[in-house]
Symmetry: C2
Subunit: 185 residues, 2 copies
């Protein structure tokens, strides 16, 4: 017998997978229920509405992505190397960014609560990269601009990889950025 | 009375608008027909299937985007300034890239014919930016990597602007890239 915590976690994890595979709009709570294997009562107990389930699942995806970024950015070593570690981390380029893709999901962008979760992710990520570039010696304004460039290279790298069907397109974008980053004071 | 060329153009232009606003998947030929104001016979005469209409409309969007990029990249002036002109061109950041957004449209990516049109756009765009960076004096491999970075910054800039609801996020990404580009040989 599954505990109520297990059931909640399985519902959230299943929703995360289905959202990543097919988008938030087309995913019904009924589908999540069927794929999770938990009882129907659990779904409605934990998540009375699709909105509640979506906020929990999108929130979990965002937390995981932010934790991974902070692991790179707050690791040991020189600050510039940490930024390079963040942009170079191996990514499933053809799958797309689990958070970035939400910005093209109309069901997310039309829902204030969900959109706010996505916005908060990018604001925090940009703050963390900016702070690391300040640690590397850049003045605030340059650090902030360059942090936007770094995050844009990763997000745009996903777009290029998906568009060309070639993960190498993302690696090339990152390589070009890292080469410039190393050459600029 | 509209000529047959007028009707075809209006159908394509209307499909482009609806695709940009709501995606290819949810747009029906019937909607395009209604919004275009042309006769039903014209639609089936020019575009027997939705696929035919989508290939024409996505093809037109790609042609327009490539023409705009080439205008910047093949303008007069030093090669590096032309690349800067391309990344700096004012864009409707919150609307998203009309071509880039297609990579998140499952109806496009699941259709070989449509996906090929999107792929060809990015391959040609990357070739054009690479050629301009070669003109600026970069060796082939560096020119190609940096061209990927430039296009990724634009595509990622759209993602950041949409995610944060702030067009300034795209401008910051471009500013950071241009500053680095000017400082690197």
């Amino acid at each position: 017998m599954t505990t109520t915590t297990d059931a909640r976690e399985r519902l959230v994890a299943t929703a995360q997978e289905l959202f990543a595979a097919q988008g938030v709009g087309p995913t019904s709570p009924r589908q999540v229920l069927a794929a999770s294997g938990v009882g129907q009562g659990s779904l409605y107990h934990h998540f009375p509405t699709k909105h509640d389930l979506a906020v929990a699942a999108v929130g979990a995806t965002v937390d995981e992505a932010l934790t991974a970024a902070r692991r790179d950015l707050e690791a040991g070593g020189p600050a510039l190397e940490r930024v390079i570690g963040y942009v170079r981390r191996p990514r499933e380029a053809l799958a797309g960014c689990k958070v970035g893709r939400l910005t093209s999901d109309q069901a997310v962008m039309d829902d204030d609560g969900l959109r706010d979760v996505v916005t908060a992710y990018f604001v925090r990520l940009l703050d963390a990269v900016t702070a690391t570039l300040r640690d590397a010696g850049l003045p605030e304004a340059e650090a902030r601009d360059r942090a936007h460039t770094a995050v844009a290279v990763v997000q745009g790298g996903y777009v290029l990889a998906r568009a060309t069907g070639d993960p190498e397109a993302m690696r090339a974008a990152v390589r070009g950025f890292v080469a410039m980053l190393k050459e600029t004071p």
